[in-house]
């Protein structure tokens, strides 16, 4: 570390008005041109720390101690106008949601111009030239007309490039990127991050990259800071931190990273056969014209064997959720059919009734898949209500057993979903799905909304239940790490079509289709065989 770092935070402590501590004694420094990552789970205080650098913390939060030195100036002593000169001009920021960080009613040019007009004395024409240059630099096609376009004309990835351009226009000394690519697909994420690294290197801008995604931070940063519950647990150069993690929490984080599961012998008896499935979404069109329907699924064929976990991967808009919902019977196909044990499952047919009781679903967001007005016990019991010949007492007993199986205590049965943590909620959703002993579970991104350590626990629970009850599973996910851990077979989708399907090891080791290779390449992964991190570290108390 050089003698005069660009940013030096010492002993930063943030408290709520009632004394509740949010950040305790956080200290770190960033040198000019360096890329530093802050990794932590939700609630670890990583975003607050970044906001404190700008003095952008909410009014209910007080800084009780600590100093923040930026380019030799004490930020905490600055006047409001001094702070404004700093924000945007010397420190830029890229937020997580490109949807909400760009004003939808302002043209791109106006938004980019705001900072330039405020912080520079350039003439209008000069500012315009600079904007066009920067938009070209972030690979926006036709940058001149982009200046007049509005945010909704651009995809999420493009919007994030525009955000990046607007932050970099003033050549700040420090760029703070808070989960800049969390809302984006893997391939887009890689493009945006590589662009960010390139661009900041060119202007010698230091970057503070905040993320929950340890492999991503490991791939792009020089130094990594691990935060947990408002404190810095460990900081080191990134390769060292990965190679020799010291603290228990860091080891737990690393152990929570998905790893390839064993190859299992699975049955070859088909349970679900999807034949030639086509689903259309009606075209929106304009006021007077009907547009041709959009094909969400095009001639999809898929087989799920008994007791097999089939993963469905692909970017957003690839049709994987539509396929899952069609298989489960929430969407009626426009063509083709879904066979269950060889019988058609069209609504109202003989096969339908049996099929309905034999397949269940776990949704991505347990906050919206659990009725907020029902207790945990009632939610799980609901799955049994449509069964005949079962007494109330038996139902209650089975609910109790199932809750125990998914690791929830009896005391939680009377709680409401909002009183549970995200992980507990997803356990309830899993309990509700397995209580009927279904033959098939469709799981749509079941662990995407969870923190990494919780994700590892839920995946473990899911695998053990799957091994115990031998249900088949269609596991929909964009997270290839998770897929590598849990799947027997992998199906890759793009634009409503299946581009590749095969055994897990074959897909991950010898991908045949270019899209699969691109997808695998985009996902940051930690080196295999991490020294000294074992499964035992997963259970370390946090």
């Amino acid at each position: 570390m050089s003698a005069n770092p660009l940013l030096k935070v010492t002993n930063l402590t943030l408290r709520l008005a009632n004394g509740g501590s949010l950040i305790e004694g956080v200290g770190f420094s960033i040198n000019a041109g360096e890329i530093v990552g802050i990794v932590g789970e939700s609630g670890s205080g990583k975003t607050l720390t970044a906001r404190a650098i700008f003095s952008l913390t909410p009014p209910s939060i007080q800084r009780t101690e600590g100093s923040i030195l930026f380019e030799g100036k004490e930020v905490t002593q600055l006047t409001p106008s001094g702070l404004r000169n700093l924000r945007g001009a010397r420190i830029g920021m890229v937020f997580q949601e490109p949807m909400s960080s760009l004003d939808p009613s302002m043209a791109i040019g106006e938004q980019l111009d705001e900072g330039l007009a405020l912080h520079t004395r350039l003439k209008t024409a000069q500012r315009r030239m600079r904007m066009v240059e920067m938009l070209t630099r972030v690979s926006i096609q036709d940058p001149v007309s982009a200046l007049g376009a509005y945010p909704h004309h651009f995809s999420g990835g493009m919007r994030q490039r525009i955000m990046l351009a607007s932050a970099m226009l003033l050549h700040p000394a420090l760029l703070i990127a808070d989960e800049p690519t969390t809302a984006l697909d893997a391939i887009v994420q890689k493009d945006v991050l590589e662009l960010m690294v390139d661009l900041t290197r060119q202007y010698k801008t230091a970057v503070l990259l905040i993320s929950h995604d340890l492999p991503m931070v490991a791939r792009y940063t020089d130094r990594t800071i691990v935060m947990h519950r408002g404190r810095i647990v460990e900081q080191n150069t990134t390769p060292e931190l990965i190679r020799v993690p010291v603290e228990a929490y860091t080891r737990k984080l690393l152990a929570s990273m998905p790893h390839r599961g064993p190859v299992r012998a699975t049955s070859k008896a088909p349970l679900i056969e999807v034949r030639n499935l086509r689903v259309d979404y009606p075209g929106r069109g304009s006021l007077f014209r009907v547009r041709a329907p959009k094909q969400a699924l095009k001639n999809v064929d898929l087989t799920i064997n008994r007791g097999e976990v089939v993963a469905l991967v692909g970017g957003s808009g690839s049709g994987k959720t539509t396929l899952g919902r069609t298989i489960i019977g929430l969407i009626d196909p426009d063509e083709g059919r879904v066979l269950f044990e060889g019988l058609p499952t069209a609504r109202g047919s003989d096969g339908w009734k049996r099929y309905r009781t034999e397949c269940q679903m776990v949704f991505q967001d347990p906050a919206s898949s659990l009725d907020p007005r029902m207790t945990v016990g009632a939610l799980v019991e609901e799955a049994l209500l449509s069964m005949q010949n079962i007494t109330r007492a038996t139902r209650r007993e089975r609910v109790r057993e199932t809750l125990q199986e998914v690791g929830l205590t009896d005391a939680l049965a009377d709680r409401y979903p909002h009183e549970l943590s995200g992980g507990q909620r997803q356990r309830v959703a899993i309990a509700r799905a397995v209580i009927r002993r279904p033959a098939l579970i469709v799981a749509d991104e079941p662990v995407s909304a969870l923190d990494v350590t919780v994700r590892a626990q839920i995946l473990e629970l899911f695998s053990s239940l799957q091994a115990q009850y031998e249900f088949s599973c269609l596991f929909i996910s964009h997270d290839l790490g998770v897929v590598e851990q849990i799947a027997d077979r992998v199906v890759v989708m793009r634009d409503g079509e299946i581009v590749e399907a095969g055994e897990r090891n074959q897909i991950f080791d010898k991908p045949a289709h270019a899209y699969t290779r691109q997808l695998l390449d985009a996902v940051p992964r930690l080196p295999n065989g991490l020294a000294g991190v074992t499964r035992a570290d997963l259970r370390a108390v946090s």
């Binding site: 019977g329 929430l330 679903m361 898949s369 009725d371 007005r373 609901e382 409401y416 009927r436």
Partner: protein
């Protein structure tokens, strides 16, 4: 929470007082609200007549109490009619969608296009100016806004994952509506129903004011207020007390409604 919620406490106590007065008035009032006494015409508030007397020498307090029971009864029945009708239409339109939705909402919007009070006036001229007529007219006039709110909630609720989950469990549509859709509509409905309760009191007063409400000599807050007009310069109490009754009741009911909504939503509890 240990600290008392001030708004809820004020709302509950004033509403309670009004309800109590209305109940007491059913069996006892200080004077007969209808008995005319020419000796005490337009008497100012005193120990004999706490809130004074009107131009016919009738005791204002007794009339206010009697009017409270009439007004509350009419409002409650009106709100119940509107909520029942509106919920049925709203759930049918929002859950079934398609043509059912289009036809129901076309009728609904046509009704919404009339100002509530105008619609009620029209209906009253058909149904006749009596209590039942007022309830039916106001109930029909307010049902469309309930239907709108319910339809909106139902449309967003039916797309929730827990509704899909329930369907996957093999539960029938009626079961889903009863178990998931209706309970989650309650919070916006409570808020709407409480403010509607206020409107109904106001509308009933307005109708009485216009002479289309409960026919005199039976007292309501509205016709008392209407009758006070010629005397407002030298008998302020004739206008002041019915007016206070109307506004305080509205205010307290709204306070209570907000508190009820917070309480009924499990997510707000203990937050």
């Amino acid at each position: 929470m240990k600290t008392i919620k001030l708004n809820a406490a004020i709302g509950a106590s004033v509403t309670g007082l009004v309800v109590l007065a209305a109940l007491v008035a059913l069996v006892w009032t200080p004077y007969d609200p209808l008995s005319i006494g020419f000796t005490d015409r337009l008497a100012a508030p005193s120990w004999v007549h706490w809130l004074g007397t009107d131009e016919f020498g009738r005791d204002v307090l007794s009339r206010l109490m009697a009017a409270a029971s009439t007004s509350l009864r009419i409002s409650i029945l009106t709100v119940m009619t509107a909520v029942l009708l509106g919920t049925i239409v709203g759930v049918a339109a929002g859950y079934v969608r398609g043509w059912t939705d289009r036809i129901l909402m076309a009728c609904n919007n046509a009704l919404l296009a009339f100002p509530g009070i105008l619609l009620a006036l029209g209906l009253l001229s058909i149904a006749g100016a009596n209590e039942r007529g007022i309830v039916v007219a106001l109930g029909l006039a307010y049902a469309p806004s309930v239907a709108r709110i319910v339809r909106g909630s139902v449309m967003s609720l039916r797309e929730m994952d827990y509704v899909a989950a329930s369907r996957i469990m093999g539960n029938s549509e009626f079961f889903i509506i009863r178990r998931h859709i209706l309970p989650n509509c309650v919070a916006p409905l409570i808020v709407l129903a409480t403010s509607m309760f206020g409107w109904a009191i106001l509308a009933e007063s307005a109708l009485s004011f216009l002479g289309l409400g409960v026919p005199p000599p039976a007292p309501t807050w509205g016709n008392m207020l209407a009758a006070s007009r010629p005397f407002i310069a030298h008998a302020f109490w004739l206008a002041l007390f019915p007016g206070l009754c109307i506004s305080l009741t509205l205010l307290s009911i709204n306070l209570l409604g907000d508190a009820l909504r917070d309480h009924l939503d499990p997510r707000m509890r203990g937050a």
